[in-house]
Amino acid sequence: MDTLVAQLQRQFRDYTISLYHQGFLDDQFTELKKLQDECSPDFVAEVVSLFFEDCEKLIGNMARALDQTGNVDFSLVGSSVHQLKGSSSSVGAKRVKGLCVTFKECCDSQNFEGCVRCLQQVDIEYKSLKAKLQDLFNLEQQIVQAGGRIPQVDI
């Protein structure tokens, strides 16, 4: 019969793999994990926390810019999208990054409806990723609290 630790480790492994296979995360997230060590054991959680704060701020900027009905500054929206693309790329937030590419195209062609749609999707997507990563970090904590080691997962 599996121990609690073994069960949790298997859950963690399966969940991590599913996040990559479903396109939520890409290789850059793996690169972030490589940077985590005994000196900075919470590095990944800290960086993704910064990323989600960035998402909130930039999405707020985009929403305000798009709210200026009849006088939307698309270059301002595009500038925030470019920022979001950069930071999502740096943490391996693959779906958010992909949406930013489409969003930028809408900004460049001054497609208001397209921009509004993209904004809604980006908002949903970053919140979805935030919840999933929180679940992942919770699993890590449970493994450690049960006396186990967090397994290395090869994607």
Partner: protein
Amino acid sequence: MAGEVPNLEASKLTALVVDDNFVNQSVHHKLLDRLGIKNDVVSNGQEAVDVHCSGRNYDLILMDMDMPIMNGIQATRRLREMGIESKIAGVTTRAEEEEVKEFMEAGLNDFQEKPLTISKLVSILHNLEFYVQT
């Protein structure tokens, strides 16, 4: 995994991260730390110029392109005009040929596309002759 990452602490290299995005600042700072390279972080080209005016000097500068107040191209040109001979590596998500050309012509020694990884940073260090890959 640890064996793949070179430790350059003994070489006492120093670096400056120039990027307006907090996420990128954090990642680039940690990447350099991991390789044993002491580094400072500033948020735009003007701050990069100011820190050099205050007398600081670095072996390597990781310069983002798009930044407010003074962008990477302007900052690179300004630093070269000031006589700063540090190695400057441009790091940006923009990779259109014309944009890279303009950035290189401003005075870069190397260029890498973001996001930065350990292996891309090692490649920069190798290209700039700070590190010989064995």
